[in-house]
């Protein structure tokens, strides 16, 4: 089972990113679940979502404590949350950032999702939409196929710019 923990802030679309990723994995023919952890959320507060992908039906409902991949949509949560807590040995980190981040020995990848969203004018209520672009980065990392990523995005969003954003993230991911 491959376990992914997504750190973001309320309103940034971390939950939708989890859903898109699970849908893409299912389109790859795998089993997947996406579980937002619901606390007393409000817009702007640090939030966590979980995605599990497996070749078999998933029966685990508890929170992910030892992720294979940590996705950080907003680097400012790193000031208040230990995002690397419980990382599996060999686990990887994907960061939405303009610069490359060293993550305490864990292989880290970065891509400027915010920049891509602004470039494509994917902005809702003043917030850049990161959750479609990030699928491209995750596809580049081999979590899902790019074909399924695009399929999932098109199933949930009619605006073609979401696919363009995912393609940009796929091309611009830095290891």
């Amino acid at each position: 089972m491959y376990e992914i923990r997504i750190h973001s802030r309320g309103g940034q679309g971390g939950v939708t990113a989890a859903r898109l990723l699970a849908l893409a994995a299912i389109r790859d023919g795998k089993y997947a679940t996406a579980c937002p952890f619901y606390g007393a959320e409000r817009r702007g507060a640090p939030v966590v979502s979980y995605v599990r992908i497996d070749d078999h039906p998933i029966r685990v409902y508890s929170q992910i404590r030892h992720p294979d991949l940590v996705l950080i949509l907003d680097t400012s949560v790193m000031d208040v949350v230990d995002v690397l807590n419980g990382m599996k040995p060999g686990g990887r980190v994907l960061v939405n950032a303009t610069d490359h981040r060293e993550m305490k020995g864990f292989p880290s990848f970065s891509v400027d999702l915010t920049g891509i969203a602004l470039r494509e004018n994917l902005v809702v209520a003043g917030n850049p939409i990161l959750n479609t672009a990030v699928l491209g980065a995750l596809a580049k990392m081999g979590i899902v196929t790019m074909e399924s990523a695009k399929m999932a995005i098109q199933e949930m969003f009619s605006d073609k710019r979401n696919v363009t954003a995912a393609e940009a993230a796929y091309a611009e991911l830095v290891a």
Binding site: A18, R19, A22, L23, I26, Y31, A32, T33, A34, C35, P36, Y38, I58, R59, V60, Y61, S62, Q63, R65, E155
Partner: protein, 370 residues
Amino acid sequence: MLTVATGNKAVAAAVKDACPSVVAAYPITPQTEIVEQIAEYVTSGELKSQYIPVESEHSAMAACIGASITGVRTFTATSSHGLHYMHEMVNWAAGARLPIVMANVNRALGPGWNIWAEHTDAFQERDTGWLQVYVGSVQEAYDATLMAFRIAEHESVLLPVMVNLDGFLLSHSMHPLQSVEIRDFIPPIHLPHAIDTANPAGYGTLTGPDQYFRFRWDIERSMRDSVNVIRETEEDFRHRFGREYHPVEEYRCDDADVVVVAMGTLGKEAEVAVDLLRKEGVKAGSMRIRWFRPFPRLDLSGRDVVVIDRDYSFGFGGVIARSLAATEGAKPFSVIAGLGGQEVTYDDIAGFVRDRRPGEEFWFGVMPDV
């Protein structure tokens, strides 16, 4: 079509497919998404129902009762405090023999104010005459809701059915969901005691001491008959759609020396604990109770039993543990865990099994050690 959906969306999709004539509901966390989605289906025309937004849960059930007595299919959904606000009408629905289907998203009762999963809310309605089923996945939420209409409306049952799903753990978790073409899986509703809306007249329900007990017995007789109706319905569902359900879902129980009994998502997580224990050489199995009313029989003889109750009856004990002591003569290790959404992992469950003390009660997270 295979898609990804939350438990709430799955329930709403099943309601759309079952096509009730009337839906009356009031939103409450974590059930809100069910009624929002149904309202959207009605607005878009995908569901041809009368949607009645009401001012309270008591009114929601009252509206369902009023609609159901005219002989039409009805649905509502609630959770926790909403369920108890409608409690009087919950009793009425069963006593009036109205096959209303209700989704209840299991949530703890306050205070302390808490919106997370617990089964005590629905367990407090256990003596009302409603059938109760508890699901363990998003797919099962969809499937069980469809089956609930057929079971409730069966002429041998004619009792309301409550479909329970764990708050957030299922209501807001996204899983694969495969919807079905129901065709004639749910026959048209026929309520023998429906009132005639073309010639409107009701009937009084005052029932004296010389008759009342007969109506109570009739509820119990139907509750007993429902066991066969549930079996037939689940068998036909498997035959038509390929997914298999039983009143109790057993996992690796055949040669098990110790069995974990749990409900809802904890019953699924227990299967992972069983796999873990089997690798250690412990012959463990699990039983997930799906139908709580009518209460099923479990084959526990000659086995150690670990019961996880995500509920509690104060001054008495864990409801499932005490029920199994009564019905099966079990002396379970009674674990109280998961109250108000308390995190319980498969590692924790494996620990309950390894360190079990049959006959004792253990409050996870409160008592220092198993």
